[in-house]
Symmetry: C2
Subunit: 113 residues, 2 copies
DNA sequence: ATATTATATGAACAGTTATTCATATTTGCA
DNA sequence: TGCAAATATGAATAACTGTTCATATAATAT
């Protein structure tokens, strides 16, 4: 299967965005359920910057920087309400990439230990 | 959804492995079909180092280095036959990660242009 | 044994990036 | 207007990583 350079580049960018511990933590805390055997909830989880920072144990500045990366990469969207900005996952692909990677890791654990 | 640090670390590692242009090209050329609307073929595609290098237009050394990374990360497996070593995708998760990322990119193109 | 083919490896360099710190911007409210 | 809360930004640094080049290993055939 041949894919052109532009598509490879965009795929690389998308996966680079997902391949960072801080960003995975952010995405995970915006993701309701990782277990794919359970039904994906349609409920949209929204969290503001400070809540995310507290939940994942990172600084406000770091979370803000990484939220920008995730947003530029179309992984999340935002909604303004007063001084707060609520972030949430953008679409199903993001959920799937995280879920499948999660399963891949679990399977690796099983087969190697 | 809370996942522990060890799992986050492994997920990060797995996605780091996938987030490189050379490695995506290698995986793509070991992947029969990217279009998820078509049925995933069960046919295993096997290619040796030099064939891959020629197909993606990279040096033998670079491909060998990256095949090692992909194999250590459980993305591919290998089979020896004489002097040649045949590589192929390891499991369905790898196909899915690549396919979904591909779709994510296509959708991004559509929504932004 | 020697040559050839196929693949792997190690060191080195260049480019990239995650994090921190300090500061700026924006909004709501008294 | 001035203050506080929430978020964003820019610069600097430290750590990481993809690629190249040269060389090594392994297997096969003559």
């Amino acid at each position: 299967m041949y894919i052109n350079d532009k598509v490879v580049e965009e795929m690389t960018n998308a996966l680079k965005i997902a391949s960072d511990a801080t960003r995975i933590k952010i995405l995970s805390c915006l993701l309701d359920e990782l277990d794919s055997t359970k039904e994906q909830s349609e409920h949209l989880i929204e969290k503001c910057v400070n809540d995310i920072a507290l939940q994942i144990g990172a600084s406000q500045s770091l979370v803000s920087h990484q939220l920008k990366v995730l947003k530029d990469g179309d992984f999340i969207k935002s909604r303004k309400e007063g001084t707060k900005i609520y972030y949430s996952l953008k679409d199903a692909h993001v959920r799937e990439i995280i879920s499948i990677t999660y399963e891949h890791v679990l399977e690796k654990f099983e087969s190697h230990d």
